[in-house]
């Protein structure tokens, strides 16, 4: 078994169980009501594939980025429990990569924005926090 770090070298017991992604679907709300970036995200599942719809803050209301396919990651190579994800949005003038990690119910989202136009804007990153709307205490 090839590995680049010891944590890659694990014994797999032949289990071909699908990834448990129950922690991911739902509506995720930015903890910062004054964000100038992503305000809300909707993670949905269809036929075992997760997708993410993003709504970002614009000058005249929320901007729907549409849906992107989600790649799910576990916390260990032996785990079948989804603990994070990545996905990409290509807007033509810019690309945005999202990398999410769930910690104690909080989604920590790293956003990487790279401009492809000639606007001379600096590529930038943002790290923000999102909570899943669960309605349990309402």
């Amino acid at each position: 078994m090839q590995f680049a770090q010891l944590s890659d070298r694990v014994e797999i017991n032949g289990s071909n169980a699908p990834m448990d992604t129950r922690a991911l679907p739902g509506v995720w709300i930015n903890s910062n009501p004054n964000t100038s970036g992503i305000a809300r995200m909707v993670m949905s599942e269809s036929d075992g594939q997760l997708s993410l719809q993003v709504f970002a803050v614009g000058p005249d209301g929320l901007i729907d980025w549409g849906n992107a396919r989600v790649n799910v990651f576990a916390g260990l190579p032996t785990s079948k429990v989804g603990a994070g994800f990545t996905c990409n949005f290509d807007f033509g003038f810019a690309e945005t990569e999202l990398q999410g990690m769930i910690m104690k119910g909080l989604l920590v989202l790293a956003q990487f924005h790279r401009f492809k136009d000639n606007s001379k804007r600096a590529d930038f990153f943002v790290r923000e926090y999102f909570a899943l709307e669960h309605g349990r205490y309402e």
Binding site: M1, Q2, F3, A4, Q5, L6, S7, D8, V10, I12, G14, S15, N16, M19, S36, G37, I38, A56, V57, G58, P59, I63, W65, N71, V72, F73, A74, G75, L76, P77, T78, S79, K80, A83, G84, T86, F89, F91, G92, F93, A94, T96, E97, Q99, M101, A110, F112, H113, D117, S119, K120, R121, A122, D123, F124, F125, V126, R127
Partner: protein, 141 residues
């Protein structure tokens, strides 16, 4: 910034993105860094050097008896316009291709601690789950 500039969020229109200083303050990233957890089974050490307007990243994975050098990669700094813990941070994002696995990482410094987040995707048929990890490093040189 002109309204003709395309955007998908208000943050794309932040005038600070046109400020060359937005991606400065990179010295905090440079140097050799060791994992705060000496028992780590992940990344043991990391070395970041400036290479023109980019950065050369060399990672050493934890091995059985010695470190495993990953192929060095180059990355461009990403500005962060928001302060975190009272400091403006800088990040690097890079991708490592091993054939059997691809590792996408991002690196940032917060209050002198280097944080590396990895997203590892296996490309072999080993049955291993793609997994993420986050580790912390202190500067050794």
């Amino acid at each position: 910034m002109s309204s003709a500039i395309e955007f998908k969020q208000t943050g794309h229109l932040d005038s600070a993105l046109l400020d060359p200083a937005a991606a400065s303050n990179v010295e905090k990233l440079l140097g050799r860094w060791a994992n705060t957890n000496r028992e780590t089974r992940g990344i043991a050490e990391c070395e970041i050097q400036r290479d023109g307007d980019q950065f050369r990243i060399q990672i050493f994975g934890a091995g059985e008896n010695e470190l495993i050098p990953w192929p060095p990669v180059r990355a461009k700094a990403l500005a962060n316009l928001e302060e975190e813990a009272g400091q403006r941070t800088i990040a690097l994002a890079a991708s490592f291709e091993f054939g059997f696995m691809k590792s996408e990482i991002y690196i940032r410094v917060n209050k002198g601690v280097l944080v590396i987040v990895l997203y590892n995707t296996f490309q072999d048929d080993s049955g291993r789950s793609n997994y993420l990890n986050r580790e912390f490093f202190y500067r050794v040189a």
